[in-house]
């Protein structure tokens, strides 16, 4: 099979990829940056740097997924348009969905987990820094494997849910589905490891005095999310593995013949898939809780209720998966149970919304960028949640299922919830990550365009669903009355696209012109990360703080005033730090090689990758890695450079 593509759009993408790669290689060589890249980034086990790498990947993937979305919206702007053919359209909606959930939302979350959690709980790193690097590189190479599919052999085209029998060899013989299965499998290992890593970090590494009920709400939300990751992702791993076996070695788990049962895949997929949406939304709730409290200059309202609702949601998220296929003909009893369970999730979610509102009530609200995104989230999510309850009503779902009403609903909760949450978090913690603030004005333009664009794009889609338009149609007839609303929706998508570009422009502009954050606490924050200088030194805390209550940093400021940040020079002790390692990168690269081999059923290549993985595991097992001690002299140098001594 020739790998060189014949389609002009694919050829153009391939040429672009090759040119960009040459450009990157040339730049790195010209400026002699290879060593820097290897030492500072590729081999790093520093949670903050790993977080930044996740963030960069998430923004790149947001761009790719967004371009996919715009291509679809162009195709749907007019009836019977010939812009994309059926095959292309099917590939693009598949990659759009998969990328946005697994390669955009997940790394965006993990960026926030990594950057914030250790700082918030007063820790010097995560529990397993080396494993953290393994997680990132597995994600990275999984994403890379998924993204090259478009230019090498063909992208997956069976929808992001990838249901058999459509995704079995009979109906999808090409490499696309194998790309999907293997790239998700590889990045999924990383996700499970991240879940374990942060669960342990939060349970075991909190600063003295920080009892669970004094923990910042974002860390609580990460804890809830990690619990869901640990229990949900193995179901996806199993589903993908069994389907891979069907396709690669000819087993019959999900085929129609020889006793296979495709319905089992659907169940396994959604046993992961529904908890997955809570995996991505819970940390967004956490971000909003931090932001609303800081920018209302008030304690978070109903802390205990907030914790209880997070945990209730994470447990209930396992009891609702069948609502993704009420139409599969389960008995009325089964559908009733899952309908009621799904609606019940609205109760703790509603409680959270009221608690956020009453955090603002009798507070003092500053409309900075993180808060703007928080405020826009509330009506968007309230409406998205409302249509969610409507969808949970099984008899109504028979009408909404797979229609544009559903599409509008889940974009409203995923964009309005997760994307707004991650953007709020990005703006909020940006100064902490990079040491400068993002300029407000461009950000406000971006905010308004993105929000208006959102409503213009998705409100018409609710209407289209009620008019009978189903998802995944690459074209539609003109006589249905769908034309106008589809055009409006396309315009909205482009407005959102401009909003995204303005965010990028804002970041680039601010690198030169953004205000330096010399205080470490630009928002008058309440939690421990704001007690540190920005950007944070690699050991985080010179001295692990003593926590005396919720909003620990706020209390320290109240108690000590300006003295709160200073460290007595004499009290500095040596700090134990983990060593960098190139093995996580190399092992993940071996995973990539093995995955690529399996995609094309080149078992020799797959074996080479497999041996590589084995060697890396073996080397790591034999390694004596005690870490190293950072001397007080070195610490003093770094601290005084930050003006902290």
């Amino acid at each position: 099979m020739s790998l060189w593509p014949t389609e002009p759009m694919v050829q153009a993408s391939l040429v672009a990829i090759i040119l960009v790669s040459i450009g990157i290689i040339f730049t790195l060589t010209y400026f002699k940056k290879w060593g820097w890249l290897w030492r500072e980034w590729i081999t790093t086990v520093d949670h903050k740097k790993i977080g930044i790498m996740y963030l960069i990947c998430a923004l790149l993937m947001l761009f790719r997924g967004g371009v996919d979305a715009l291509l679809m919206r162009i195709q749907l702007a007019f009836p019977d348009l010939q812009f994309l053919d059926a095959q292309h359209y099917n590939e693009i909606f598949t990659t759009h969905g998969t990328i946005m959930i697994l390669f955009m939302a997940m790394p965006f979350l993990f960026a926030m987990f990594n950057i914030v959690v250790p700082l918030q709980i007063g820790a010097r790193d995560v529990a397993f820094p080396y494993l953290n690097a393994v997680s990132f590189w597995l994600f990275f190479f999984g994403a890379l494997l998924f993204n090259i599919s478009f230019v090498l052999g063909g992208a997956p085209d069976a929808g992001w849910v990838n249901y058999p029998p459509l995704s079995e060899l009979t109906f999808s013989p090409g490499p696309g589905i194998d790309y999907y299965l293997l790239s998700l499998q590889i990045s999924g290992i990383g996700s499970i490891a991240t879940g374990i890593n942060f669960l342990v970090t939060i349970l075991k590494m909190r600063a003295p005095g920080m009892s669970m009920m004094r923990m910042p709400m974002f860390s609580w939300s990460v804890l809830a999310s990690c619990i869901v990751i640990i229990f949900a992702f193995p179901a996806l791993t199993a589903a993908l593995a069994l389907l891979s076996l069907d396709r690669i070695v000819g087993t019959h788990f999900f085929t129609m013949l020889h006793g296979g049962n495709p319905m089992m895949y659907m169940n396994l997929f959604w046993i992961w898939g529904h908890p997955e949406v809570y995996i991505v939304i819970l940390p967004a709730y956490g971000v909003f809780s931090e932001v609303v409290s800081t920018f209302s200059k008030k304690r978070l309202f109903g802390y205990k209720s907030m914790v209880a609702s997070l945990l209730l949601i994470s447990v209930a998220s396992y009891l609702v998966w069948v609502h993704h296929f009420f139409t599969m003909g389960s008995s009325a009893g089964v559908n009733s149970f899952f309908a009621v369970a799904s609606m019940a999730i609205a109760i703790p979610t509603g409680v959270k919304v009221f608690n956020w509102l009453f955090t603002m009530f009798r507070g003092r609200i500053r409309l900075s960028l993180p808060m703007l995104w928080m405020l826009a989230f509330i009506p968007t999510f309230a409406l998205g949640g409302a249509t969610g309850v409507m969808l949970a009503v099984a008899p109504a779902d028979y009408q909404f299922h797979n229609s544009y009403f559903l599409i509008a609903h889940f974009h409203q909760v995923l964009i309005g919830g997760v994307v707004y949450g991650m953007l709020a978090g990005l703006y909020y913690w940006w100064p902490k990550m990079f040491g400068f603030q993002l300029v407000e004005k461009l950000g406000k333009w971006a905010f308004w365009l993105f929000n208006i664009g959102f409503y213009v794009c998705f409100m018409p889609q609710y209407a289209l669903g009620l008019m009978g338009m189903t998802r995944r149609m690459y074209e539609y007839p003109s006589g249905m009355g769908w034309n106008g609303l589809n055009q409006v929706s396309t315009v909205g998508a482009f407005i959102m696209g401009i909003g995204f570009l303005l965010i990028v422009a804002q970041i680039l502009y601010s690198i030169r012109h953004g205000k330096r954050d010399t205080t470490g606490d630009p928002w008058n924050g309440r939690t421990l990360e704001w007690s540190l200088p920005s950007p944070v030194p690699h050991y985080n805390f010179v001295r692990i703080p003593e926590v005396k209550g919720r909003d620990a940093w706020w209390m320290m400021k109240q108690e000590k005033g300006d003295e709160a940040t200073s460290t007595p020079s004499s009290s500095i002790q040596p700090i134990h730090m983990p060593n960098s390692s190139g093995l996580p990168f190399l092992m993940s690269l071996a995973f990539f090689v093995a995955g690529f081999g399996l995609v094309f059923h080149q078992f020799a290549l797959a074996a080479v990758g497999g041996i590589g993985i084995g060697i890396c595991l073996f080397l790591r097992s034999l390694e004596q890695d005690e870490g190293y001690m950072l001397s007080p002299k070195e610490i003093r140098r770094i601290e005084s450079a930050q003006g902290r001594l």
Partner: protein, 301 residues
């Protein structure tokens, strides 16, 4: 539809100034002709039941959503951090048992009410919508077309189905291709067509008319072309149509079916007969053989 009624509703809703929630409804209302909104224009008892649940759920959730949006606007206007803002400021006030009980309690009550109706109708929809003698139609989704068989008269059609109006129709669904979903919005919600399975779904059209139908679950390349019409006629006309088909249309041979199964898009077709036990064979060969007992009662009806 009653145009005036719609307009009156519209002005009434505007006047009640329920804020953003209703602004969002404007695109729905401006389109004018309500019959384009197939889901909101039920033409039979099944779609009617589902429509009522849609309306009930929308009303119940707006009890929470509208106050939330109202409160948000009020709070943000009142408590801005501006010099001279004399609204109360209580930075340490973060707890209120009474308020917490209110906003745990109200959603619980709303969800409980909605649950009762949901469960009632979920069970109701598994039963025939009326007592009249039903008609059975066997539906097979293919790549990328629909085949309808009438076991009572032995005729078959492709990409359209005729049904008698005012009579419950029992659709028995399967697939000889990837899983699809059978959806005729004005008559009622959908059920998946699955290879190796025979699923039952009840629909009924109250009045003669042509109702739009489409596959609702993606099945590959030309999925977008899986449109079909369901045409309801007076029972007498339906009988007449069956008779005419029997007399004038070609038979479907095994060879014809083999061609039909080939991936592709075809026009509407009509056949006076089909190979005996074709539907059962389709179900069995796709894996139904392993689930014989579950399906026996549907297949033998």
């Amino acid at each position: 539809m009653n145009e005036q009624g719609v307009e009156r509703d519209e002005t009434k809703m505007r006047r009640s100034s329920l804020g953003k929630m209703l602004l969002l409804a404007v695109p729905f209302l401006l389109t004018g002709c309500r019959d384009r909104f197939l889901v909101l224009d039920p033409a039979g008892p099944v779609a009617e039941t589902e429509y009522n649940m849609i309306v009930l759920s929308a009303v119940l959730i707006s009890i929470v959503v509208i106050p939330v949006i109202g409160l948000l606007i009020y709070i943000v206007r009142k408590y801005r951090d501006r010099p001279g803002n004399d609204a109360p400021y209580q930075p340490e006030w973060a707890d209120s048992k009474r308020l917490e009980i209110v906003w745990w309690g109200i959603p619980i009550v709303i969800i409980a009410v909605l649950s009762v109706f949901t469960v009632r109708d979920t069970f109701a929809l598994t039963q025939p919508p009326s007592d009249q003698e039903p008609v059975t139609i066997q539906v097979t989704s293919l790549d990328w077309k629909w085949m309808f068989q009438y076991p009572e008269s032995g005729v078959a059609t492709v990409n359209y189905a005729k049904i008698p109006a005012g009579v419950p129709v029992q659709f028995v669904l399967t697939s000889d291709a990837p899983m699809n979903s059978f959806w005729v919005p004005q008559l009622g919600g959908q059920t998946y067509t699955m290879p190796g399975m025979a699923m039952r779904m009840w629909l009924q059209a109250d009045q003669p008319g042509t109702y739009y139908g489409h596959g609702a679950n993606f099945t590959g390349k030309e999925f977008a072309k899986m449109e079909f019409d369901v045409i309801a006629e007076k029972p007498s006309e339906f009988k007449e149509w069956t008779k005419q088909v029997k007399e004038s249309k070609p038979k479907m041979t095994k060879e014809d079916y083999k061609q039909l199964k080939e991936p592709g898009v075809v026009e509407e077709k009509t056949f006076s007969s089909y190979p005996s036990d074709l539907f059962k064979e389709i179900v069995m060969k796709n894996g139904g053989i392993y689930r014989k007992e579950e399906h026996q009662h549907i297949l033998n009806d």
